[in-house]
Amino acid sequence: MSGADVIDALAGLAPGSAMAAIRERKPVTRAQAQASYAALFEPAEVGSVSLQERFAVAVFVAGLHGEADIAGFYRAGLVRSGASDVLVAAVYDAVARGRTTGPYGAFPPGPLSVEDGTGPVFLAAAEGLGERLAAALGHVHMLVFHPRDADAASLQALLNAGWSNGGIVTVSQLVAFLAFQIRTAAGLRVLAETAA
């Protein structure tokens, strides 16, 4: 497991700062957030989701959040995993085409339908990504921006593109964890920078 705390790094929290001291008051939260990062990006066994796929998803998720520095952190991992320049460029191209604002999506038809919000459904082109990763990024975009539109058919599309049950669980955890990590880092950064 890597030594440096990733949320501290992404939030720009210096050792010994007031915000670092607040994080130290909850050492289990801090350690388990780091263990979550390690489980996904430094796994004991990669299983059916390669490191290259994991980092490609992370660059896409961070990019869709408009967090260029966090995307850059994961881009370094993508390059370390042996990704070609073509793949890296294809992921950034998908970010550029996928950017929007969330959350939106439809509720089950009924009294909440008045709250339905519409937004784009993203389909990634296979060029540069391959069919399997392109299918995943379509699903990932939904999870980032409009998770309440998820349905069994979206998972069947992943199975049809060659993802396994276990692989879908890992990809879902990747996106969901990143949604947490990015918000924690962004939130703590704002808190640290807002003078009392």
């Binding site: 007031a18 915000m19 994080r23 008051r25 909850k26 289990v28 939260t29 388990q32 957030a33 263990a35 979550s36 489980a39 996904l40 004991a44 869709l64 959040h65 967090e67 604002t101 969330g102 959350p103 999506g105 509720f107 089950p108 038809p109 009294p111 909440l112 709250e115 939904m142 999870l143 980032v144 998770p147 309440r148 349905d151 069994a152 979206s154 998972l155 199975l159 049950n165 276990g166 879908i168 669980v169 890992t170 879902s172 955890q173 996106v175 969901a176 964890f177 949604a179 947490f180 990590q181 990015i182 918000r183 924690t184 962004a186 939130g187 703590l188 704002v190 808190l191 807002t194 009392a196």
Partner: protein, 201 residues
Amino acid sequence: MTERVVEHPENQVPVAFTLAMLDWLPWLEPPAEAALTERQRASLVDAGRGKSAYFRLLARDPDILEARTRTDKDIFYNTSSGLPRAERELAAAATSRHNGCIYCASVHARHAITFSKRAADVQRLLDEGVGAALGERWDAIVAASVALTATPVAFAAAHVVRLRAAGLDDAEIADVIHAAAFFNWANRLMLSLGEPAAAGG
């Protein structure tokens, strides 16, 4: 051979936010409880979670499940310092309401009531949504949770200023951030791997 999802055509999904206990039906087949490996069993943290299809499905990747669960428990249950439990649950319920996770909102609205005793206010959060007026301190926590739930993240200095004015210190604001951020993790798993159902259905 391509695997198949599990569909539940007979299920009538709840169509409104509710305080009622709900079930959850997976779209991917979870391992049977008896088939869990030792590592998968340990990743549940609480042995009783072996009864839950949700946790058995997540146990297909045990290392991230275990770290997820230990993160969750410390953010919500560690009351050695920081924000009162009730307001951590309020942040979780508001985040779930805004993302549209009917299952998660039901669980954490009930917890918010248990710890705050403010059943009418929590009911209004479910019924009216995140714009319901619940008093300045709760409104500031809900607004911060909503801003943290937006993509891109919309949480800004004005939210911090408002939370401080409502009486929260920076350690308590850090707890609001963690609670709302964590439910952006939990909501996405619950919403995308299965569907809610009326309990006992």
